[in-house]
C-alpha cells in the first residue's frame, strides 16, 4: 500500500498525490501553440520590418504558421467545450489581490503562495485572468485581423484609396506587441515554482504533486488510473 492510500485508509485529510494534471492533448496544444507563436512573432516582426528576415520568406512562413495556429485553435476550442475545461479560465476575482501581492512582495520574502492548485482549478486567479485576456482579447484580435489580412487579395480593389489596410495592420501590430509582452511575462512566471524549472517540467511531463480530495482520488483510481503515479 502506498503512503497516499494508507493515509486515505486512515481517514487523513487531503494527502498529496502525483497526478497527471495536464493531459496529452493539453500539452500538445500548449507546446505546438508556443512554437507557432514564436514562429509567428519572429516572422511577423520581420514582415513589419523590425527583424531582418527576407520579406517574401517571412510572409510565406507567417501565413502558413497562421493557418496552422488557426486550425489548432479550432480543435482546441472544441476540446475545451467538450471536456468542460473552459471553466478553468473563469476569472476568480476574490483571491486576485492576494496573488498579485504574493508575486510583488511575498515571493521575495519567502511567503507561501496564497493559492493551492487543485485538479478542478489548475490556475491561480491572476493566471486565469491573464489567460482569459490572452484568449478573449489578444488572441482574437490577432487571428481575426490576421484572417482578414491574409484574405487581402479578395478586398484589395475595394480598399484602394481607403485606410482599411493600415487600420487592420495597426490592430494586428498592436495585438502582436501585447502578445510578445504576454509571452515574456508568461515565460518569466514559469520560473516562480518550487524550483526555477518546476512548472516547465510539469508542462512537459504533465505530472504535478497536488492534494486530492478523497472523491477525486477514488474517481481517478477507478476511472483514470493511468493519471495517478
Amino acid at each position: 500500500m502506498t503512503d497516499a492510500t494508507e493515509a486515505e485508509f486512515r481517514g487523513e485529510d487531503e494527502p498529496k498525490r502525483t497526478v497527471m494534471i495536464y493531459t496529452a492533448y493539453e500539452r500538445f496544444w500548449h507546446w505546438s501553440q508556443a512554437l507557432l507563436i514564436f514562429i509567428l512573432a519572429l516572422t511577423g516582426f520581420s514582415v513589419h520590418g523590425l527583424l531582418p528576415m527576407d520579406y517574401r520568406l517571412a510572409v510565406l512562413i507567417h501565413s502558413y504558421a497562421a493557418i496552422a495556429l488557426i486550425l489548432l485553435w479550432v480543435f482546441t476550442t472544441f476540446w475545451h467545450f467538450t471536456t468542460n475545461q473552459w471553466r478553468q479560465y473563469l476569472p476568480k476575482l476574490s483571491s486576485l489581490w492576494e496573488v498579485i501581492r504574493f508575486y510583488a512582495w511575498g515571493i521575495l520574502t519567502g511567503a507561501p503562495h496564497p493559492y493551492t492548485k487543485s485538479l478542478k482549478r489548475k490556475q491561480n486567479a491572476l493566471q486565469s485572468l491573464a489567460y482569459l485576456t490572452f484568449m478573449v482579447i489578444i488572441g482574437p484580435a490577432l487571428w481575426a485581423s490576421g484572417i482578414v489580412y491574409i484574405l487581402f487579395p479578395l478586398w484589395a480593389k475595394l480598399a484602394a484609396g481607403t485606410i482599411a489596410l493600415p487600420l487592420l495592420a495597426f490592430i494586428h501590430t498592436a495585438a502582436a506587441y501585447m502578445m510578445v509582452i504576454f509571452v515574456l511575462i508568461h515565460v518569466y512566471m514559469t520560473t516562480t515554482g518550487k524550483t526555477a524549472f518546476h512548472y516547465i517540467k510539469t508542462m512537459i511531463t504533465g505530472y504535478d504533486t497536488i492534494p486530492l480530495s478523497k472523491a477525486q482520488a477514488a474517481y481517478l483510481r477507478e476511472q483514470e488510473p493511468n493519471r495517478l503515479k
Binding site: H48, G49, V59, I107, L108, Y177, T192
Partner: protein, 569 residues
Amino acid sequence: MTPRAMVLTCVGLFFLLAGYGMAGDRFGTPELPVSGAGEAKKYQEAHPPKPPEPPVTGQQSGPMFGKTADHTKFEALKGPFANNFEVSAACVGCHTEAEAQIKKTIHWTWDYISPRTGQRVGKENVINNFCTNAKNNEGMCASCHIGNGVREGEEYTFQKESSVDCLVCHDRTAGYYRTPPTKGNAVCATMFEGLPPIDYPHVAQNVGLPGRENCGSCHFFGGGGDGVKHGDLDTSLKNPPKELDVHMATDGANFACTRCHVTKHHAIAGSHYEMVAHDEHGVGGPGELRQAATCESCHGTEPHPKPSLIGYQLDAHAARIACQTCHIPEFARGGVATMTDWDWETAGKLLDGAGYYEEEYTQGNGEHRHTYWSIKGSFVWGENLTPTYKWFNGDMRYTMPTEQIDDSQPVVPINDVLGDASDPGSRIWPFKEMHTRIPYDAGNKTLVYNHLWGDDDAAFWGNFDIAKSIEAGMEIEQRPFSGEIGFLPTVSNWPITHMVAPKDAALDCSACHARDSRLAKVAGVYMPGFSRFGWLETLGLAGLGLTLLGVVLHGGLRIALRSNGKGEE
C-alpha cells in the same frame, strides 16, 4: 424487355432522331413529294426565295498570317522613282484609304486635345525640355515627321496637302532613311551628307508591316539621339536578348511594336498622351484583340501563378501598382545610355571660333556620348537606372507656353504626373525623370520658343546667339517676349513601360517592403516592412522594454534574496 435491350433501343432511337435532324439542317427542307410539276410551282409560289442578307460589318477576323500579295509583282512599284513622294503616290494607288487614315492620327497632326485634362497637347503645342520646341524648328523635326510634301526650299507646314511618307514605317530592307526637308545651317547640314543613295524600286517592292527598326527609326532617337529621351526605347531593342526585353527578344517572343500597340486604320494604341494607368478590363472576350497597349490587354488582370499564396498577394498588388513597377526594375540597360541632365546655359561656347563637342561618357556598348556640344550645352548620361515612382492616373498636365510659371520653385515640371493614393484609378508607375535647365523669359515668366534649326542668321544652330534665336522664335510664334533670358530648372516625366525583364528578374518583395524601400517617397500607401505606426511602435517597444526590465529586476531581487517564495502548492 431486358435492360440491355432497352439501352440498345434508346441508343438506336437517338441516332435515328439525330440523323434526321442533321439531314434537315443540311438541306433546309425535307424532300418534296414528287407528284407533278403543278404542285412544285404552287410550292414555290408559297415559298418565294429570300433576298440575300447584307453581310454584318465590323466582324473580327482574328490575326492573319501570310499574305496574298507579292509587292515585287506590282507594275506600279517597278519605278523609276525620283523620291519617296512618288513611291507614296504608287502606294495609295492601291491602298486608297491609307493616306486619309494617317492624316487623322496624332502621328500626322502632332496635335491632340486631352479629353481628360482638356489641354491641347501634341508636339505642335507643348514645350519640352530637350530641344524645347518642335514649332518653328519643323525642318529638323520633319526628319521624323511623316509629312512628305515639303521639298528643298519650301516652308514646312502641317496643313499642307501632301502625301504621306509610307516608306519610313513600311520599309523592310533597311535601305530607306529620311533627312530634314530643309537644309539647316552649315553647322548641322553636314550630318546628313555622304549618305548612300536610296534604291526606291527595291524598297518599294519589299514593304511590309512595321518592324521594331521602323518605329525605332524615330522613337529610339527621341530627344535628339539614341536613347536620349525615353530610356526604355533605344537601338538595343532592335535585336534584344531576353534579359533586356522578354517581348521583343529575338530569342524570345520577337514582338514587333504593333503586337502590343494594336493598330486600327493606322491609329496606333498607346500614345503617352492618352495612357491607361489602370486597365481593369483585361484581355476582353475570348479571341478579342483589344486596341489597347496595356499589359493587361494580353496578360489579364490576374496574371500571377496560382494557386499560390504569393500569387494571390501579387495579383492584389495590381490594384495599386502598375505591372511595370516590378517588372522593369531598371531602364537603359541594353548598353545604350539615356540622358538624365542637360544644361542649356553652357550652350554656345566656341573653340577657335567654331562649335565643338566633348565625348567623355562611354556607354555599355562601347560608344562615346557627348558630354558637351556647343549647339546644345552640357549633358549627363545614365545606364541601368532605377526609375522614379509616382502615383499616376493616366493624365498629365503640361506646362504650356502660354501660361505664367512660378520660377521660385526649385524645379518646374514640364509635365505634371496626375494621380494620388486616394484615387482607386491611380497606380504607382515608374518614370524616367529628365532634368534640364532650359532658357525662359525671366521677365514675363513664360517658357519660350527657341529657333534652333534653319539656314537663316537667327537660328541658334548657326549663330550660337541664344538671345537672338529666342527672340526670333517668339516672333515667329507671335508671343510676347521681354528680352530677359533666364535659365529654369525643369523636370519632365516619361513613363517607363518597355524593357520588361524576364519574370525571375522582376523586383523582389524586399525592394519595396523594407526600410530602404524603392517606394519610400511615394506617399499614402501602407507597405508592410516599410510603414510604421509612430506612437504604437514607441508604446509597443517601450512596453516590451519595461517588461524586460521588470523581469530582470524581479528576477534579480529573487536571486539576491535567495528567495523563491514557496511556490504554488
